[in-house]
Every structure is written in structure tokens, then in C-alpha cells.
């Protein structure tokens, strides 16, 4: 109501003496109300942020407790003395380093593979004319819409037939080649690069590949970064695929390893602080990358419609 009066006041051309005397009081009240409003919003947002962060904080504090501390009743909020040994225990109790290196290796391979395949195809779809181009692109789009449930079982049987089960091949080749999403995203980006560059290069005698490699691709760096971020995140966090494809420790990923050794049967594996420490170590690398590359993550995830599932 006061805002309405204030705005009406603002609209009058020549404020009278009375109005001028009234205005400071109203302005203060409006100002206070606006500030109060903002404070409430800040508090609401803080509550939301806390709800989001607290589970992670709980994970951290629990990982630093002793086993008895975490299972005494009633439980304490913070550890009496931070126990760091669980973090080093993780390295000794499970082949954590192997899992980590495997995951990094898979993420790197798939990202590079995606870079090569998707950018080549995106170049063709965005700048070259050839028969069947539109139909093929529609096919690509259609494959993006296919839910993973449908492809899970046939993929398993295919990997089994190829002999790729429990090897690095099932974790790298399908990811490197089989994704329409990267192509789609890069194509959208490439469409915004002016054709004149291509034409100028062609007049100068450049081959198609040269245009792709030396001109268009370097211009795609932002989109490529976003693609890298999404791909790394997807590969790192993937659970179902490694679950059905892998068995041996030598090829297991970090995420799958976490599931295995936190729900195994032995005494050590039932230690809660140990589980929490392992969990922290599993998500820490990706969260670190996230903090440094936030912009790309958010842009990438907004573009992709994928979440961290």
C-alpha cells in the first residue's frame, strides 16, 4: 500500500509543500520494508542452502569420528578428536588408487572420443550439405530421447558377445562413439559461427578437414569445455553401467567401488566413519573440479537436461 502511495507521489509533476514534508517518513518506511523483505529472503535462502549442505557436513564430521563415537547414543555433533586415520585406511583396505585411476582413465578416453566423433559429425551437420542430412539428424535427435532402461539389457548382451565384459572396452568404446547429445550440442554451437569463414578458407584452397581442424574447432572452445564437463561428470558418476559390466577390481570405477566396499560383509567395511571417509574421497575430486569450473558446469547441465544421476 505504501509502495503504491509512494509511486503515486513519484508520478505527480510538482510535489506540494505538504507532499515534500510527508515524503521522508514514507520513504523511510518503504526502505525499511524493502530491506526487511530482502532479509527474509536471505534467511529463506540460507535455510535452503543449509538443507542442501548439511548432509555433506554430516558426512565430513562423521568421517572424523571414532567408531564408538559415531554409534554412541545420543550421537555427538562433532568429533572429540578428529580421527584422520580413516582416510588413509581407505587406501589400504581397498584398491582405492586403482579405482581412481580407472575412473580417470575412462573419463579421459570417453571425453577425447566424444571430442573427435561429435565435433566431426557436428561440423558436417552444421556446415555441409549432403543427401539425407536432415533425416539423419532427426535420427540422432530420436536417439537422445531413448531412456536408458531400454538399452541396458541389449547392451549387456552385446558386450558379452564382444567379450568386453569386465574389461576396459565396455567402459570406453560405447561412451566414445555412442552419443548423439554431444553432436547435437556442438552442432547448435557451430551454427552460430559465420559461414564467411568457411568460404574465405575455401577460396584460399583449404580442404574441408583443414577448415574443420584449424578454423572451426578452435572457435568451439566454450562448447567443447561444456561438453568435457558434462562427459566427465556422467562417466564419473555412472553406476548402473559399471555395475552390470564390471566384476574385477582391476577395472572397477570409483563409484562402483564405493558401493562394493561400503556394503560388503567384513567388520572393517561396516565401520561408519570408514564409509563416510570413502564417500568423501569419492566425491571430492568432482566437487573440486566443479568449484573451479562452475560456470561451465551450470551452463552445461542447463543445456543438457541431465542431472547427476
Amino acid at each position: 500500500m505504501h509502495a503504491k502511495i509512494a509511486s503515486e507521489q513519484a508520478q505527480t509533476a510538482m510535489p506540494s509543500e505538504q507532499a515534500r514534508a510527508r515524503r521522508p517518513k514514507l520513504r523511510n518506511r518503504v526502505f525499511a520494508k524493502r530491506v526487511g523483505f530482502k532479509v527474509m529472503i536471505f534467511i529463506a535462502l540460507t535455510v535452503v542452502a543449509l538443507i542442501v549442505i548439511i548432509p555433506f557436513l554430516w558426512m565430513l564430521t562423521t568421517s572424523l569420528k571414532t567408531v564408538t563415537e559415531s554409534s554412541t547414543y545420543p550421537p555427538s555433533l562433532l568429533p572429540a578428536v578428529p580421527q584422520w586415520h580413516d582416510y588413509s585406511d581407505v587406501f589400504q583396505a581397498v584398491p582405492f588408487l586403482t579405482y581412481l585411476l580407472n575412473t580417470i582413465f575412462y573419463a579421459a578416453c570417453v571425453t577425447i572420443g566424444q571430442y573427435v566423433c561429435c565435433s566431426l559429425a557436428a561440423f558436417a551437420f552444421s556446415r555441409l550439405q549432403f543427401p539425407g542430412r536432415n533425416a539423419l539428424f532427426v535420427l540422432y535427435l530420436a536417439t537422445i530421447l531413448i531412456p536408458t532402461t531400454v538399452t541396458l539389457v541389449p547392451s549387456f548382451i552385446m558386450m558379452k558377445t564382444f567379450g568386453w565384459l569386465d574389461t576396459i572396452w565396455s567402459m570406453t568404446i560405447p561412451g566414445m562413439l555412442g552419443s548423439a547429445f554431444g553432436t547435437f550440442m556442438l552442432r547448435q554451437y557451430m551454427l552460430s559461427i559465420p559461414r564467411e569463414l568457411d568460404d574465405a578458407a575455401t577460396v584460399d584452397g583449404a580442404s574441408l578437414f583443414y577448415i574443420y581442424w584449424k578454423i572451426i574447432l578452435p572457435l568451439c572452445k566454450p562448447a567443447l569445455t561444456v561438453l568435457a564437463v558434462i562427459t566427465i561428470m556422467t562417466v564419473w558418476n555412472d553406476f548402473v553401467w559399471p555395475l552390470i559390466m564390471l566384476q574385477s577390481d582391476s577395472v572397477t570405477t570409483l563409484t562402483l567401488g564405493l558401493a562394493n566396499f561400503t556394503s560388503g560383509g567384513s567388520q572393517e567395511f561396516n565401520s561408519i566413519p570408514f564409509n563416510m571417509a570413502a564417500s568423501t574421497m569419492t566425491i571430492a575430486p568432482l566437487i573440486l573440479v566443479f568449484f573451479f569450473a562452475q560456470r561451465y558446469f551450470i551452463r552445461g547441465i542447463a543445456l543438457s537436461g541431465l542431472g547427476g544421476r
Binding site: L177, G178, V203, N275, I287
Partner: protein, 310 residues
């Protein structure tokens, strides 16, 4: 490098050059296209073939026609899974979308620390579903978990989170909402920020309160984004798996048995690949139908919003 060689007007020259060009174009596409063909398109048809067979993965597959589908429809576990999946989705998606709508509007108010809030909310999105399951399993612990601990301090009864079928499903819904809403909020926030300021200012001059402005102007204009967010939330909620596998393994008493979990059980625990494939096709059909329905139902709202696009 002109397209027509000087002095030549014969069509065969033109065609030869464009053939080379076309071949080059196809070469560009080949790696990606092969991949998509082999690892996505082919499995879809293979799954259809599988759904008509009875196969344990070792002996030869046996053609049984639609028997797998019939058996599934007669199987009570299928109906339980369907019910659980529907309940999970019906709770997670609307609550998640509405929550992100609210939080996005809050974030749009330009208070200090916006960047921090955005970052904080996004952390669950970049964390793997499994790590989140590990954390929440401990949070839901009956004796020492965070929630029951707080309840005890408040002298309230402890909740049997993972040992009671109903509470277990609720627990999973909470995790689903918690993990997903950061991502949907960012999308909705981007849409809200695209609403032209001038419209909102005009409304406030006309005396519309903030509440009214939000519901009558902002929300209708962001309907396309809300639809998009609903659809992807639905698709991912319908295929929930990791949390169930880790936290409850479908129990207790099939209380958290969902469709994707049933696919997994049939295929990799019971080695009934044909049924698993059939079930995955039923899921595919449901997802497809509901998505179409969502798009059809909101067509009016989306068209109206599109008319406002400047």
C-alpha cells in the same frame, strides 16, 4: 578452387567434384554415426527382439511371442513395482518442480551471496547418486542418524526410515527431491530472468502485489521451461535405480521395488532376459505416453507464453 573448372561446361565435371564433397561429408559423420547406430539404435531393436524370446543368456533363446508381456501383466510384483514407481514419481516431480519455482524466484530477488547459494544448491547435482545414497543411508540410520538424532533431542519418536515399507518410500522421495532440485532451480531461474522487466514494472504501477505479479505474469511466461523441467524430472524419476539398489534393495517387503529395479532383477539376478527386455519396453511406452500427454496438456499455456516472446 572454383566449383566449376574454367573452360569446362560438362556436367560430369561438376558431379565429380560434388561427389568428392559428399563422400567427405559422409566420412565426417561416420565415426559418430556408427557409434549411435551400434550402441543406441541397434540395442533398441535388439531389445524388441529379446522381449519376444525366453532366454537365460546361456542356452539358445526360445521364441515365445507376447508371452513375456502377458506374464508380466499377471505378475503381482510388476504391479507393486508400477505402484511404487508411480507414487515415487507423483511425489518427487511436482514437489521438486514447485520447490525449484519458489527457490528460483527467491534467487531472482538479487540479495547478497547469490553466487554462493547457487553453488551450494548445485553440489548434490554433481555428486553421484551412489555417494548420495551412502550419505543418506547413514542419515536415515535408526539409532544414530542425523534425523532421528534430532528427533530424539526434541523428545519426539524416532522414525523407522528404512525398515518400514511406507517410510522407506518416503525416505527415497526425500532423497530424490533433495538431489534434483538444484538442477531444476537453475533452469527455472534462467527462465525467470528472461521475463521482461517492463511487464513486471507495468504491473506494479497498476497496483499488482508481488504475489500477484508472480502468479499472473512470471509463471505463465515461463511455462515452456516448467514443462521441460517437468518432463525431464519425470523421465529421470521414473527410472530411479541407484538409491533403491543401495539403500533398500527393493525392500522392505517390496516397499521400494521400482520398475527399473525389477528390470535389473529379472535380467541380472534371475537371468530372465526376455522378460527384462519386455518390461523395459513397457517402461519405454509409459514414459513416451506420459511425455506426450504432458506436452499435449500444456499446449495452450506454452503457446500463450510463446506469443509473448519478444
Amino acid at each position: 578452387m572454383a566449383a566449376i573448372t574454367p573452360g569446362s561446361t560438362r556436367p560430369s565435371t561438376w558431379r565429380r567434384r560434388s561427389t568428392k564433397y559428399t563422400v567427405a561429408a559422409y566420412l565426417f559423420i561416420t565415426p559418430s554415426f556408427l557409434g549411435v547406430l551400434i550402441f543406441i539404435a541397434f540395442p533398441v531393436f535388439f531389445a524388441l527382439y529379446l522381449s519376444l524370446q525366453q532366454w537365460d543368456g546361456i542356452t539358445a533363446p526360445q521364441f515365445v511371442g507376447l508371452l513375456n508381456f502377458v506374464n508380466l501383466l499377471k505378475d503381482p510384483i510388476f504391479w507393486i513395482s508400477l505402484r511404487n514407481t508411480v507414487v515415487y514419481t507423483v511425489v518427487t516431480v511436482p514437489v521438486g518442480v514447485l520447490l525449484s519455482l519458489g527457490v528460483a524466484q527467491l534467487l531472482n530477488q538479487r540479495v547478497i551471496g547469490m553466487a554462493f547459494f547457487r553453488t551450494a544448491m548445485f553440489v548434490p547435482v554433481v555428486t553421484s547418486g551412489l555417494a548420495i545414497a551412502v550419505i543418506w543411508k547413514w542419515i536415515y540410520d535408526y539409532n544414530n542418524g542425523l534425523i532421528n538424532d534430532t528427533l530424539t533431542r526434541l523428545h519426539l519418536a524416532q522414525i523407522p526410515w528404512l525398515s518400514d515399507p511406507t517410510w522407506a518410500l518416503i525416505a527415497l522421495c526425500i532423497i530424490g527431491i533433495w538431489q534434483g532440485f538444484g538442477f531444476t532451480t537453475i533452469l527455472v531461474l534462467a527462465a525467470i530472468q528472461n521475463v521482461p522487466e517492463s511487464l513486471l514494472e507495468a504491473a506494479s504501477i497498476d497496483g499488482a502485489t508481488g504475489w500477484r505479479r508472480f502468479w499472473r505474469i512470471t509463471v505463465p511466461l515461463i511455462t515452456p521451461t516448467l514443462l521441460f523441467v517437468s518432463i525431464i524430472s519425470f523421465i529421470s524419476s521414473f527410472q530411479v535405480f541407484t538409491q533403491i539398489y543401495y539403500l533398500t534393495n527393493g525392500g522392505p517387503d517390496y516397499g521400494t521395488y521400482v520398475l527399473y529395479f525389477l528390470v535389473f532383477q529379472r535380467a541380472f539376478v534371475q537371468n530372465r532376459f526376455g522378460e527384462a527386455a519386455a518390461l523395459s519396453y513397457i517402461m519405454f511406452a509409459i514414459i513416451f505416453a506420459v511425455t506426450l500427454l504432458q506436452m499435449r496438456l500444456s499446449r495452450n499455456a506454452v503457446n500463450a507464453a510463446a506469443e509473448f516472446e519478444v
